[in-house]
C-alpha cells in the first residue's frame, strides 16, 4: 500500500476463508458475552469509536481509532465465564490463541490504517500555515476567565477572575476583573478588601522586593467598565509599580469578602521588562511557489529561537488561518516569514484581501525559568494583503522530508499489521 493511497488493502482468499471461520466463532462467543453482559452492569470504559470533529471541514479528519473494531469486541471479554465455556467447547487452545492474535493484529491494522490516513490528510498543509479551526483557542489573544470557590469554608460563593492578558511587556498594563457569584452562578455582591503584586514565590530570591499594593475599584474609571456593576477592576503596570527590572512570573493576590464569607485568590502574569526583539510594523508580501509569504520586519537584539504566531482574517473579518514561525534569528534587522499556504487558500476560499492581526512572539530559551522573553504583541490588524485571483495559488500539498518520513513509516506499519493478520489465516491452511 502506498502512503498516498487511502484504499484498503485487497482481501486475500485465505483471509476471506479465515474471516468466515472467525465470524462463526464470534457468533458463538458473542452469544456468551451478551448473556454475561446482561448481568454485569455498566461498562466502566467507553468503547465508542472516536467521532468525527463536529465541523466536517475540519482538516484533521477522524482520529485513529483503537477500539472500534466492533467485530472482535466479543473476544475482548475473554475472561467472562460464559464466553470461556462456550469457546472452550468449540476451539482448541491453538485455535483460540490464533484467534486472539488475529484480533490483536486486526486492531493494530485498523489503527495503523487510520493513523496513516489521518496523517496524510492533516499534512496537506504545512504545520506553520493551518486552518484557524485547528486552533480553536488561538482565534483571539488569551483573556483567561475562571471561577473558583471563595474559600473552602464558603464553597457556595464563587469568585470569578478574569485578566485581559497573560503576557505583559515593558510599559504595558494588565487589567484584572474580580466578581462574585452564588451557587446558581448568579451575581452576588462582594468587594476586594486588598490586593498586592509580588514576585511569584518559586522564583529565586522571591520576596526581596516588597509586595506592591494594587487598587481594585468598581467606579467606572481606570479601566473599570461600569460603576457599581459588581465587577471590581484592578490595573497593574509592572514597570511603574515596582518591577521595572524583573523578568518572570508576577502574582497578584486579592482578598475578597462577600457578606460574611472571605477568601484569597491570585492571578498570574508573565512579565518581560526589556523585549529581546521588536516588530518594526512593516510587512512585505511576496507571492511565490503558489503561496503568499508575509515578511514581518523585526529588529533582533538577542539572537535565538523565536516563536511568532498570527491570525489571518478574510475581508469580512471572519477568521481564516493560523500562521506561525519557529526558527532561529540572528541579531540585527531580520524578517519573520508567515506563510499563507496556497492549497489552504484554494480549499477554504477566503475573500480577499486578507488581514493579518494579533501577532505575538517571544524568544524561547533552551532552558530556564522563565523560559521566554516576550516581544510586544501587535494587537489588532497589522497588515492587509493585496487581492489575488485563485490562479495565483498552487493546489499542491505540502512536501517535506518530514512528511515523507512519517508517511513511509505509517505505511510500513500498515503493511506489517496486514502481513501479521494474514499470517494467522495462512496458519489455518497448514496441515
Amino acid at each position: 500500500m502506498t502512503p498516498n493511497s487511502s484504499a484498503p488493502a485487497p482481501v486475500s482468499r485465505p483471509r476471506r476463508l479465515g474471516w468466515g471461520f472467525l465470524v462463526i466463532a464470534l457468533v458463538v462467543a458473542g452469544v456468551g458475552w451478551w448473556s454475561w453482559r446482561g448481568g454485569a452492569g455498566d461498562e466502566e470504559v467507553s468503547h465508542e469509536p472516536p467521532a468525527l470533529a463536529e465541523d466536517p471541514k475540519r482538516a484533521l479528519g477522524e482520529a485513529p481509532s483503537k477500539a472500534d473494531f466492533g467485530s472482535v469486541a466479543a473476544l475482548e471479554r475473554r475472561s467472562s465465564p460464559g464466553t470461556e465455556d462456550m469457546r472452550v467447547s468449540v476451539l482448541s487452545t491453538e485455535q483460540r490463541e490464533r484467534l486472539e492474535r488475529r484480533e490483536l493484529w486486526a486492531e493494530r491494522l485498523e489503527r495503523a490504517k487510520r493513523t496513516l490516513e489521518s496523517y496524510v490528510s492533516a499534512t496537506r498543509y504545512p504545520p506553520q500555515s493551518r486552518s484557524i479551526r485547528e486552533h480553536p483557542d488561538q482565534v483571539v489573544l488569551a483573556e483567561p476567565e475562571r471561577t473558583r470557590p471563595l474559600s473552602r469554608e464558603h464553597a457556595d460563593v464563587q469568585l470569578r477572575l478574569k485578566q485581559d492578558r497573560v503576557f505583559v511587556v515593558r510599559d504595558e498594563a494588565v487589567h484584572f476583573f474580580v466578581s462574585c457569584e452564588d451557587a446558581q452562578r448568579q451575581p452576588r455582591p462582594c468587594q476586594v478588601l486588598s490586593a498586592s503584586a509580588h514576585e511569584a514565590e518559586h522564583m529565586p530570591g522571591a520576596g526581596a522586593v516588597p509586595a506592591v499594593p494594587v487598587a481594585f475599584t468598581d467606579d467606572g474609571a481606570g479601566g473599570d467598565a461600569l460603576a457599581g456593576d459588581g465587577i471590581f477592576t484592578g490595573r497593574f503596570q509592572p514597570s511603574k509599580q515596582g518591577f521595572p527590572l524583573y523578568s518572570g512570573t508576577l502574582r497578584v493576590d486579592v482578598r475578597v469578602r462577600s457578606d460574611k464569607a472571605e477568601g484569597m485568590a491570585f492571578l498570574d502574569i508573565l512579565y518581560t521588562p526589556s523585549p529581546p526583539a521588536a516588530f518594526t510594523g512593516k510587512v512585505r508580501e511576496v507571492l511565490a511557489d503558489g503561496s503568499l509569504g508575509l515578511y514581518l520586519g523585526i529588529n533582533v537584539s538577542k539572537a535565538g529561537r523565536y516563536v511568532v504566531a498570527g491570525r489571518i482574517d478574510d475581508e469580512s473579518g471572519e477568521p481564516f488561518a493560523h500562521v506561525s514561525f519557529n526558527e532561529e534569528l540572528n541579531e540585527g534587522p531580520q524578517e519573520v516569514k508567515l506563510t499563507v499556504f496556497g492549497k489552504l487558500v484554494l480549499d477554504e476560499v477566503p475573500t480577499f484581501p486578507l488581514k493579518l492581526r494579533d501577532v505575538e512572539g517571544f524568544l524561547l530559551k533552551e532552558s530556564g525559568d522563565p523560559d521566554r522573553e516576550l516581544m510586544t504583541t501587535m494587537r489588532g490588524y497589522v497588515h492587509t494583503t493585496n487581492e489575488y485571483p485563485p490562479a495565483s495559488f498552487s493546489p499542491a500539498e505540502w512536501v517535506s522530508e518530514e512528511r515523507r518520513r512519517y508517511m513511509d513509516e505509517y505505511a510500513r506499519d500498515v503493511d506489517e499489521a496486514q502481513r501479521m493478520l494474514d499470517q494467522t489465516f495462512d496458519e489455518e491452511k497448514r496441515p
Partner: protein
C-alpha cells in the same frame, strides 16, 4: 541492464539493512513528584511501578525533576526524544499528568527544530551520541498516550493546595498551563487521552469530573485559555459532557487538535495515582500501550 539491476539490488539491500537497524521504543514520561526519580537513567521506573512489568516495546523511563518548571526540565525530555526517536528509530510515548505538559511543550516548541540523529546509547546523563552527524526535522513519534493529562492545568494549583514555592506548581495553574504553548501544535501526532473520574476529595475545587488531581477539562484535552466543568453523561450539575473521540463537549468546547478521548471513566473507577504499581488511570494506559506499542 545488468549494471542497472545490480544497482537496484544494492539499493534494495541497503534499504533492508537500514530497516533492520530500525528499532521502536516506548517512552514513559512521568508527572509531578518529589523529585526522586533519576534523571537520565532510562531504566528507573520507580515512578510507575515494577520495572519488569510489560509496558510496551523497549520501554524507557524519561525521568526529570518533577518539582521544577517545564521550561527548566524539558531538555531532559528532548534528550530522550533525541536518543530514541531519531534516525531509523521510532517512538511510542506514554505520559502521566504533568508529563502531558512536557511532551506537549516539546512537540509544540521544538517539534519542527533540527535534531541531531542519535545512536540510542545514552551516557550517565541520558544524552546519546550522534550517528553520522546529520540532522532531521523533529522526532519520529507514532502517537502519544496520556493518562490524566495535566496539559490544561489543575485547580489544585490555582487555589494554593500545592506548595506555591514549587516551580512546577506555577506551571500547573490552569491559565498558565494553557498559555504555556499552543496545545494544538502536535506536529500532527495524535494524543490519546485517558480521563479518570474516581475523585471525591477535591470535588469542591476541581470542576466537573476529576480523578482527585486533574479535572476532565484537562484530562479530556478540552481547549480554552482556562478550565471548564465537564462530566460524564447524565450529570446535570456540570457545564457540559465530555464526549469521547474528537467531538466537542456538549457545551460546545472543542478539543485541542490531534487530541482524542480514548477513555472517559463513566464508572468512576480510576483515580490519578500510579501508586507505585502502574495503578489508577495509568493501568488503562499501560494496557493500551502493551497492545499497540510493538
Amino acid at each position: 541492464m545488468k549494471k542497472l539491476m545490480g544497482t537496484a539490488i544494492a539499493a534494495a539491500t541497503l534499504l533492508v539493512g537500514t530497516q533492520a537497524a530500525a528499532t521502536n521504543y516506548t517512552l514513559w514520561i512521568h508527572g509531578r513528584n518529589g523529585g526522586g526519580t533519576q534523571a537520565g537513567n532510562y531504566g528507573d521506573f520507580s515512578y510507575w511501578g515494577p520495572a519488569g512489568t510489560a509496558a510496551g516495546v523497549n520501554k524507557k523511563a524519561v525521568n526529570w525533576n518533577g518539582k521544577e518548571s517545564v521550561g527548566n526540565q524539558n531538555a531532559r525530555v528532548r534528550d530522550a526524544l533525541d536518543c530514541f526517536c531519531t534516525g531509523n528509530n521510532w517512538c511510542y510515548i506514554a505520559a502521566h499528568s504533568a508529563g502531558d505538559l512536557q511532551i506537549g511543550y516539546a512537540l509544540s516548541m521544538y517539534g519542527g527544530s533540527a535534531r541531531s540523529k542519535k545512536n540510542a546509547t545514552p551516557n550517565a546523563s541520558g544524552v546519546c551520541g550522534n550517528t553520522d552527524g546529520s540532522t532531521q526535522t523533529g522526532w519520529n513519534i507514532k502517537w502519544v498516550n496520556v493518562a490524566s493529562g495535566a496539559g490544561g492545568g489543575s485547580e489544585l494549583a490555582d487555589v494554593g493546595e500545592w506548595a506555591v514555592n514549587e516551580p512546577l506548581v506555577k506551571d500547573l495553574v490552569t491559565t498558565t498551563s494553557r498559555a504555556l504553548y499552543n496545545h494544538n501544535t502536535t506536529r500532527n501526532v495524535w494524543f490519546y487521552m485517558f480521563a479518570g473520574a474516581k475523585g471525591t476529595l477535591y470535588s469542591g475545587i476541581l470542576p466537573g469530573q476529576d480523578d482527585e488531581v486533574v479535572s476532565y477539562h484537562s484530562t479530556g484535552g478540552v481547549s480554552g485559555s482556562s478550565g471548564s466543568s465537564q462530566c460524564n453523561p447524565g450529570d446535570w450539575f456540570c457545564g457540559g459532557t465530555l464526549n469521547t473521540g474528537t467531538a466537542n463537549t456538549s457545551d460546545g468546547r472543542a478539543k485541542w487538535s490531534f487530541h482524542t478521548v480514548s477513555l472517559r471513566d463513566d464508572g468512576e473507577a480510576f483515580n490519578h495515582y500510579a501508586n507505585g504499581n502502574w495503578g489508577g488511570i495509568v493501568a488503562k494506559v499501560r494496557e493500551d500501550v502493551v497492545k499497540f506499542a510493538y
